[in-house]
Symmetry: C3
Subunit: 207 residues, 3 copies
């Protein structure tokens, strides 16, 4: 394996790890807010981290067996959850502003990976977009349903639209796995757009 290729893989693995940990943290925070017990915290954490990928595979029709061999990702989520359960709540509140940044890394990385996945399997455009959106927001959707909340992606802030954009760009073939630089540009753009939406308080209009 060439050094450059390995370097790229390390970079994307890193984005995924950050995303998995941020998503697990967001699930845990919701569970704590809903006064769920420690098991509920772990379930919502795992569901938020991995629910999107599972939902994508199920809905788009990709076999799930290989999904279960990403042991290091499961450990990253588990470590995050243990840390959250052990650390003082005060620290958690302090860290909440950082979750937005990490979560944006996850959104961008997951949407891109989901779209690449479907594209490699020669799915039509709509399925590629759907794979991007489901990988990016599916976990949060299930988290909110299991917490008895109305899914926040359906009513607040601009979040899923950026995942959709990543899916479109990859589905149309403008960016693919053979051009790592373009992938990084796309990653940075989605990440920046998501952060901008939060900082400038952008909203999608209602009817």
């Amino acid at each position: 394996m060439k050094g450059a290729v390995r370097g790229h893989m390390v970079a994307w693995d890193l984005f995924s790890f950050v995303g998995v940990m941020a998503y697990a943290a967001s699930g845990a925070v919701v569970a704590i807010e809903e006064q769920y017990d420690m098991f509920g915290v772990c379930v919502l954490g795992f569901v938020t981290s991995f629910g999107g990928g599972i939902l994508r595979n199920v809905v788009v029709g990709i076999p799930l067996k290989s999904f279960w061999s990403q042991t290091s990702m499961f450990l990253a989520a588990f470590g995050t959850l243990v840390a959250i359960l052990l650390l003082p709540t005060r620290w958690l509140l302090h860290g909440k502003r950082w979750i937005v940044v990490f979560d944006a890394i996850g959104l961008s990385a997951f949407a891109i990976q989901g779209a690449l996945y479907a594209k490699q399997m020669h799915y039509p455009l709509i399925a590629v977009v759907m794979a991007a959106v489901l990988t990016g927001i599916g976990g949060g959707l299930i988290r909110d349903v299991l917490a008895g909340r109305k899914p926040f992606v359906l009513r607040e802030e601009i979040y899923a639209v950026w995942a959709m954009l990543a899916g479109l760009v990859i589905g149309l073939g403008w960016v693919d796995g053979r051009h790592p630089v373009r992938l990084y540009v796309l990653f940075a753009a989605i990440f920046a757009l998501r952060l901008l939406s939060v900082w400038r308080n952008w909203h999608i209009p209602r009817k």
Copy 2:
């Protein structure tokens, strides 16, 4: 292809189009009622139109890949949603009574198609009935869960039972794809029974 066969396919495609558009409209209306943003309107619209078919394939175990090639259906749903977002709300309220009729066309067409699908794959009776019910009501079920509502099919009106009836009739082999006339009769019967339930205000008793 014989003209007659083509004519039948056109008829069933037409029923499906009407159903997809009616289901998308019902999802959009629920999202607007819940004050979801425009993205939420699109998600609930698509989920109501296509969630039943996806759920059927997943639960009954039919591969999903071909599901993603029905481009014209996706465009029909998308066009409906754009129209709903652009048209004045006043018109929407006016059109609401028509949705019941179009929705009944969708219920009947989807239940029959779902049942035929499972029957062709030689599934046992219970799976054929399940395929009919899931295709007919699955989208509305997910719509209500994502809207934070108790699913209306579980507590109001006679709706799912007609899908179940279509599944039974096809599962028992009384009607199949080789007898188009019987299919039309079944379609008309399910459609009429659903409309009758609304107009006569029929309800399933509670315990």
Copy 3:
């Protein structure tokens, strides 16, 4: 077939029947409490009995076709639901304390069978644990979501943890299908631990 093997199969089938009936009853009771109609009672009953197995197959990636041939299980659930709809409510309230015992039989049997299933297919430990948990609690999870409730397994009592324990023991290879005695011991242990949790009012701490 040897008599001993047949005897074991009869025993496990019996546990499954008891579990399916107890789960169906718990779904029906929730639906009646939520004032759902008789169709809603049947849906929640079936979902609680079979939703866990379906969710396990979908999430872990096991084909669903054979799932639909367990006719006797469907009949057991259906019979339970008919009985609940016909019997006087007074009897139901009387029987509610017994549901806990039958439910514990179901939890133990389903968790063990789910784990054995994934283990036989050579899935990694995390997937075996997940299969045990999903088979044991998945039905109740969907039941609560469809009833518009926060899932009780995420916030009350020690329930899912015992399914997880069964998954761990089988996933680590300490107990498998070749040692029926060990399987019975595991079954009795999970059953006893669940009942103990109820009777001693054990709870998982919150953060």
